[in-house]
Amino acid sequence: MNYQDMDEQSRDILKELGNIGTGNAVSSLSQMMNCPFEMETPFLRIVKYHEVARILSISEEVQTGIIVEVFGKLEGVFLFLMNESFTDTLLEAMLGEPPKDITNPNEMERSVICELGNIMCGSYIRALSQLLDMEMDVSVPDLCIDMGGAILSVPLSRFLRLSEDVLLIENVFHLGEKAFSCRILFMPEMDSLKAMFDKIGVQ
């Protein structure tokens, strides 16, 4: 199976799955922070690896990256990317004060961010798992605050061994103004995609 050969129906299904997963993740976050978020229309991107950072236009921008590995019947990688203002707002909401230097978080800040990743990823995956009736599990989240492109190089190197293209199910959501944004990227393994489409009866 090749990403490029996927038909319109399969693409729509993946986008919808991303929507449902993100919807669940965002409502968990919303409860935690006690404020509403706005979700954008999801993207399904199939891009050449060298274009990923450019397309997301975050190459040198500081981002908070939380990475979670998904394994079981569906395997892949989750990457949450929050920009600086989103991270600041989040930490202020949870801890009562904004971080002194987000590029150098203290122990408490790190653990709040990781816990958030844990909760969001858990809700996303639970939604997919129920919907598809496929068992999945997630790894302990890991955090990196650095240039967006440098963070992305880690999951990219995993997928590049197998393919020149990377499939991204991308959901963006905001807190109030556009400047406060967070993205959830889900990158399923090619074999898992096939298993998933078989399961829901798409050829």
């Binding site: 690896y49 450019r54 590995e69 650095d146 240039m147 963070i151 992305l152 190089s153």
Partner: protein
């Protein structure tokens, strides 16, 4: 104003005096600069995987440390630099996440593969800023054979 020559992921490029080779946001990737110790030509490759044999998808030599460096050597020789005058400066290969999962963090493997290949090709490494846990943007000034490393948290390093 010097002209920037941007070297993207899995690209290799040559530049001349008056130009600056740039690779943005190296994470686990390594930027390898080859330069003429007496001259006015340099090249940079931005590799993302250690060896060609470690991948199923093997197109494009510049993805790999071993093949990429050899391809860049060929380009340098074609550009008129005698092989014996080549030297290297390298940067990148960070461990971005603290995970112990080896599948994730290939920064160190990338650095090792780069050094091994350069040793096999008998090209000396005159400077390096590798490993650690942060991303780097690198600038190689051809005129002075100078490598500048910029990061989010630390001071600019000049090698």
């Amino acid at each position: 104003m010097m002209e920037n020559v941007v070297v993207g992921i899995a690209e290799g490029k040559i530049a001349r005096n008056g130009q600056v080779l740039v690779s943005y946001a190296l994470g686990s990737c390594v930027g390898v600069c080859l330069y003429d110790r007496r001259g006015s030509t340099a090249g940079m490759v931005h590799i993302i995987l250690p060896t060609k044999s470690s991948a199923v998808q093997q197109a494009n030599p510049y993805k790999f440390a071993d093949e990429g460096i050899r391809a860049l050597i060929d380009e340098m020789v074609k550009a008129g630099v005698p092989r014996i005058r080549l030297a290297a400066k390298i940067a990148g290969g960070a461990k971005m996440f603290s995970t112990d999962n080896i599948r994730w963090e290939i920064g160190q493997q990338n650095v090792e593969a780069v050094k091994r290949t350069l040793a096999e090709e008998r090209i000396p490494v005159t400077a390096e800023d590798t490993g650690k846990n942060y991303g780097r943007t690198i600038y190689f000034y051809v005129d002075e054979s100078k490598l500048e490393v910029r990061t989010v948290r630390h001071k600019v390093v000049v090698l």
